[in-house]
C-alpha cells in the first residue's frame, strides 16, 4: 500500500464528502429555518438529474442541462412548498415524515411515467472529462476535481448568503424568532417559499452534477437522502457549517473504511473471508459513526441546543 494510494483515497473521501454536502446543505437549511423534515429532498435531487439529462440530450450542452436542473428542481420545490409543505410547518415531525414520504411515491412514479423505466444518459461535459496528473504523480479525474471546487464554491456562497446579505439576515431571524420578523413587516410565507426553493435548487444541482458520473434512474435519490440525513444529524441539524463538517467526516469515513477495513481484517483472516467481513463492517460504518456521535453529543457536533 503506497503513500500515493492513501493520498488518492483521502482525496476520494473529500470529494464524496463535498458531494454529500451539496445534498445536505438544502436539507439542513430547510430544517433550520422552518423546522421541517423533508424526506422528499431525494426526489428533488432526482428531478435535477432527470432535467439535466433530458435537456443535455436535447440540446447537446451539459451546461444548459445544469441550468435546467437548478430551475426545474427549484420550481418543483416552490410548487410543493405552496401546495403541501406550507401546511406542515406547525405540525409535528410525524405528519411531516408521512407527508413527505407520500411525496416520494408521487415523484418517483411520476418521473417513471414521464421518462420511462430505463436509465437516462448523462455524461460530464467534454472540457471536464478525462484525468489530470496532480503533483506527486496521482492521476485524478478532472470532473471529480470540478465537483470539489463547485461544492466548496457553493459552501462559500451559502456562508456569504447567510452571513452577509439581507436575505440571510431574514433567514437567521426566521430561525430564532418568527413573530418578530413578521412584526417587522417581512413576508414570512414568501421567505419560506424562497428558502425551500433554494434548498431544492441545491439538491437539483447536486443531482445533475452527480448524475453525470452515476446512474440517472428512478429511485436514485433515496440512498443519498439517507446519507444526507446522517450528515446533518452528525453535524447538528440546521447548521450549514455542521453540514460541511459532517459531510466531510462521512465521506472520509466511508471511503477509507471501504478501503482499509478489508486490509485490516486480512491480517487475521484468510483473504476471501477478510474481504467479506471487512466490507460488511464498512457498509455499517457510517451508521456506527452517527450512533457514536449522538451518544456523546445528542445535539450533533455543531448543534446549538439539546
Amino acid at each position: 500500500m503506497s503513500a500515493v494510494l492513501i493520498i488518492e483515497q483521502v482525496l476520494n473521501g473529500l470529494q464524496f464528502g463535498v458531494m454529500l454536502f451539496l445534498m445536505a446543505a438544502g436539507l439542513t437549511l430547510v430544517f433550520g429555518v422552518m423546522g421541517l423534515i423533508n424526506l422528499a429532498h431525494g426526489s428533488l435531487y432526482m428531478i435535477g438529474a432527470f432535467a439535466c439529462a433530458a435537456v443535455a440530450m436535447a440540446t447537446g450542452s451539459f451546461w444548459l442541462g445544469l441550468a435546467a436542473s437548478i430551475a426545474a428542481s427549484a420550481a418543483a420545490g416552490a410548487l410543493i412548498e405552496v401546495a403541501v409543505i406550507r401546511r406542515l410547518y406547525d405540525r409535528d415531525h410525524l405528519d411531516q415524515v408521512l407527508a413527505t414520504f407520500a411525496l416520494i411515491l408521487v415523484f418517483s412514479e411520476g418521473t417513471r411515467w414521464v421518462f420511462g423505466s430505463f436509465p437516462l444518459y448523462l455524461d460530464p461535459p467534454e472540457g471536464l472529462s478525462g484525468a489530470v496528473t496532480l503533483p506527486g504523480g496521482i492521476d485524478y479525474p478532472l470532473y471529480r476535481l470540478a465537483i470539489i471546487v463547485a461544492g466548496l464554491a457553493v459552501a462559500a456562497g451559502l456562508f456569504w448568503l447567510i452571513g452577509g446579505t439581507r436575505l440571510g439576515i431574514r433567514i437567521r431571524a426566521g430561525e430564532s424568532d418568527r413573530e418578530m420578523i413578521a412584526a417587522l413587516g417581512v413576508n414570512i410565507a414568501a421567505l419560506y417559499t424562497v428558502v425551500f426553493a433554494l434548498g431544492a435548487g441545491l439538491a437539483g444541482l447536486a443531482g445533475a452534477m452527480v448524475g453525470a458520473i452515476q446512474s440517472v434512474q428512478v429511485g436514485m435519490g433515496e440512498p443519498v437522502l439517507i446519507l444526507a440525513f446522517v450528515v446533518i444529524v452528525i453535524g447538528g441539524v440546521g447548521s450549514v457549517a455542521g453540514a460541511l463538517v459532517g459531510a466531510l467526516l462521512v465521506g472520509l469515513t466511508d471511503t477509507l473504511g471501504r478501503f482499509l477495513l478489508p486490509v485490516a481484517f486480512g491480517a487475521i483472516l484468510p483473504p476471501s473471508e477478510a474481504m467479506g467481513v471487512g466490507s460488511a463492517l464498512a457498509s455499517m460504518l457510517i451508521y456506527l459513526l452517527m450512533a457514536v456521535v449522538l451518544i456523546f453529543r445528542p445535539q450533533g457536533l455543531f448543534g446549538a441546543r439539546a
Binding site: 436509465p119 444518459y121 455524461d123
Partner: protein, 378 residues
C-alpha cells in the same frame, strides 16, 4: 393488481398435428414498478410478443407487479396458485425473490419457468422436477468470463462484485474457470454509487484486466467513473452491465468492452432474426437480453402445450424437458437439473449508427452446463 390478457387468434392452425387445444393459465410475477422495472417490462414484453407471434388464444395470462419485494412476490404466488389456480408460474427477475417463491410453488404442483434468475441452490440440492430455468444458472456468464480471460491470455486479473450472495457466486464462478493470479478481490456495498475508492485500488494493483459484476445502476455508475479515471486496463463483465436497456445510459464509456452472454441480437439464426425484427416493430426499441429470455420462455411453454395437456403433469413435464422450440440463442437443451446447456458468447460493445449495441466476437464456452447438476437428485 390484475390485468388479464386474453390472447386472440388461432393456435391450432399454426401448431397443427398433435395439437391439444386446451387453455393453460399462466401467472407472471415480475417487477413493473420502481427502479428495477425496466427488466421486468422487457421480460413481459418478450413473453407477450411470442404469444402474439404464435397467434395463440390458449394461454390465459395473469400479470402482477412484485415491486421487487420478496414478501409481495410470495403473497402474489399464493394468490395465483390458490385463487387464480394457475398451472404455470414465471416472470421473476431477482434471485432473492425466486428463492422466496420457487421452492414453495413447485411443491404445490405448479410448474415454474424461470426467465431470468438461476440461484445455485435451485440448480443443485434444491432442484425440483417442476422447476425449469430458461435463462442460465447464475454462475454461467461469470464462468464464461473466466474462460475468456484465460483464452485471452490475461495473467493478473482484478475481480469485483457487490457483497451479497449473487456477488459471491459471481466471483466464485469466474474463479472456477480462471486459474491465473488475482491482482485483487473486492466486495462493494450493494447499491453503492461511488467507485472512486475501488478504481484507485484497481489503478494501484498492476492488474492486466478487470472482471466486474455490478448489475443495474451500479454498473452504469462504475463504467462512467472508470472511463473518467483514465485507467486503461481492459474490462470484462457479464452481459448485465452491457445490455440494450443500459447501454444508452452508459454511453461511450462502454465502447469496446468485452462481455459474456448466451444471446446477442446479431446471432445468425432464423428465430433470432424474426424476433429482433418483430420486437423492434412492436415496441419501437431494440430487444434486450431479458426480452430474449422472456420470448424463449413463452416459446418453451407453447412447445410443451403442443405436445401434452397441462393436466397430465408427467406428460407436460416430459414435453418441457424436450425443449422442442427454436430458441433465439440457437442451440438449447436442458441438463439433468432442468437448467440450460448452451453456448456462451463473448460480445463487444460497438456503435451502430447512433445506437450502442453488441456484436458477437467469439464463443467462450460451448455446450456449457453448470457446476451443480451433479448434486441434483430428481
Amino acid at each position: 393488481m390484475t390485468r388479464r390478457i386474453a390472447m386472440v387468434a388461432a393456435l391450432a392452425a399454426l401448431i397443427g398435428g398433435g395439437a391439444v387445444a386446451d387453455t393453460v393459465k399462466v401467472g407472471m410475477i415480475t417487477t413493473l414498478s420502481g427502479g428495477g422495472a425496466g427488466l421486468g417490462i422487457d421480460v413481459r414484453d418478450g413473453f407477450l410478443l411470442a404469444l402474439k407471434m404464435a397467434g395463440t388464444r390458449d394461454v390465459e395470462l395473469v400479470i402482477e407487479d412484485d415491486q421487487q419485494k420478496p414478501d409481495i412476490a410470495v403473497q402474489l404466488a399464493d394468490k395465483m396458485i390458490q385463487s387464480d389456480r394457475v398451472d404455470v408460474l414465471t416472470g421473476i427477475i431477482w434471485s432473492n425473490l425466486a428463492m422466496a417463491v420457487v421452492p414453495g410453488a413447485v411443491r404445490q404442483g405448479v410448474f415454474y419457468l424461470s426467465p431470468n434468475a438461476g440461484p445455485s441452490q435451485l440448480a443443485g440440492k434444491g432442484c425440483h422436477e417442476n422447476y425449469f430455468n430458461v435463462a442460465w444458472q447464475n454462475d454461467n456468464l461469470h464462468e464464461a468470463a473466466g474462460a475468456y480471460a484465460m483464452k485471452a491470455g490475461y495473467q493478473n486479473v482484478f475481480i469485483m462484485a457487490p457483497n451479497y450472495p449473487a456477488g459471491k457466486d459471481a466471483l466464485t464462478g469466474f474463479k472456477r474457470f480462471y486459474t491465473g493470479k488475482l491482482a485483487g478481490e473486492l466486495y462493494t456495498k450493494l447499491g453503492q454509487t461511488d467507485y472512486a475508492a475501488e478504481i484507485a485500488q484497481i489503478r494501484a494493483s498492476g492488474a492486466d484486466a478487470v472482471f466486474f459484476f455490478l448489475p443495474g445502476g451500479m454498473g452504469i455508475a462504475f463504467l462512467k467513473q472508470y472511463a473518467q479515471s483514465g485507467v486503461g486496463i481492459p474490462l470484462i463483465g457479464p452481459a448485465f452491465s452491457f445490455d440494450q436497456t443500459i447501454l444508452a445510459a452508459v454511453g461511450d464509456a462502454a465502447l469496446g468492452v468485452r462481455n459474456t452472454s448466451q444471446w446477442s441480437k446479431d446471432l445468425e439464426n432464423d428465430a433470432n432474426r424474426a424476433f429482433v425484427a418483430a420486437f423492434l416493430k412492436e415496441y419501437g426499441r431494440l430487444p434486450s437480453l431479458y426480452a430474449s429470455q422472456g420470448f424463449d420462455t413463452a416459446n418453451l411453454l407453447l412447445s410443451a402445450m403442443a405436445r401434452a395437456e397441462v393436466e397430465d403433469k408427467a406428460a407436460f413435464r416430459d414435453a418441457l424437458r424436450k425443449a422442442d422450440f427454436a430458441s433465439v440463442r440457437g442451440k438449447f437443451r436442458f441438463n439433468t437439473n432442468h437448467h440450460p446447456i448452451q453456448d456462451i458468447y463473448v460480445r463487444e460493445v460497438v456503435r451502430e449508427g447512433d445506437v450502442l449495441t453488441n456484436h458477437v466476437v467469439t464463443v467462450a464456452l460451448e455446450d456449457h452446463g453448470d457446476a451443480y447438476a451433479a448434486e441434483c437428485r430428481m
